[in-house]
Symmetry: C2
Subunit: 155 residues, 2 copies
DNA sequence: CAGATATATTTGCGCTTACAATCATTGAGA
DNA sequence: TCTCAATGATTGTAAGCGCAAATATATCTG
């Protein structure tokens, strides 16, 4: 630790970050509304579409999403009703449920991806210089690595 | 717009960001638990403590927090019950309610601030070089400025 | 093999939040 | 002044999510 307080520069960086991330999320979410998808729905479809056979066990999917198991159950309800995802029971282990993206879901994702990419560009990437984009990645990889190790002293 | 797709570098930056911010928020939130405060509660106390007379109209406070009016009403309920915030009716305009931080609230904030600052340092600032801290501020000011202007073409 | 333990998922419940409706008060125009 | 739109706050309602409990199945242990 460097000091018990934040320098002016540190404070400015922290405040800029804290005040902006919610607005950014809201903007990205708003741009998905025309596709009838929430950001959370979109993430489900992306992860499933990138998975083998387009499917994943519920528990693996909830880990990927950083969502609780119950949260995932309810999130899937909507996607199943929209016919974007199907639930199929595991054959070898009958406890497990697989969430699998349907062809409807793949089509919906294909329609949404260009707008979403454009949205990420518009609100984030294109606001930055190439050097800043690189810095952004470096910064959050460093922060993410730190959070992973979670080196709390006491616990 | 530069391109309809993301370059590898852009994708890496975006994914690092997207995967990390929720973890960071969770870590900061967890470090406030011993103080019996959520991050949202903490923000309320900070904003009120920095305001004239330690109080703010509900609507101004909800704007500062980026919270809906109804959300603020319910959030204050908890802080009022904890005696950290008091509601007082406006004198000139009897529609307005002021949320004002109590001395209990100021004490609670004083107790929490050092831990929170340490938390921000541990999880964010100290993971970065000074140059990265500066870059972080520049990046999110640029992004925030862009979101403010919201230059959507169609609407 | 039986019983205990672990794992995968869903359901019950409560918390937080936003949107829409409601109520109270203010300010502006006829 | 009286009316009506605008403003500030709260309440009703619903959606999203996590925790704990419940359920079903699998695995380990004696």
């Amino acid at each position: 630790m460097t000091s018990g307080r934040l320098t002016a520069t540190e404070m400015r960086a922290w405040r800029a970050y804290a005040e902006t991330i919610d607005h950014l999320r809201a903007a990205l979410e708003a741009d998905l509304v025309p596709h009838g998808l929430s950001l959370g729905d979109y993430e489900v479809l992306v992860i499933l579409s990138e998975s083998v056979d387009g499917r994943l066990r519920m528990c693996d999917l909830s880990n990927e999403l950083g969502l609780s198991p119950s949260g995932l159950t309810r999130r899937l309800d909507g996607l199943v009703k929209a016919d974007y995802v199907a639930r199929t029971q595991g054959t070898s282990d009958r406890r497990v449920m697989y969430a699998s993206i349907t062809s409807e879901g793949r089509h919906a994702l294909q329609r949404a991806v260009p707008d979403h990419v454009r949205s990420v560009r518009t609100h984030l990437i294109d606001r930055l210089t190439p050097a800043q984009v690189t810095a952004l990645g470096d910064i959050f990889r460093a922060v993410g690595d730190g959070l992973g190790r979670q080196s709390r002293s006491g616990t």
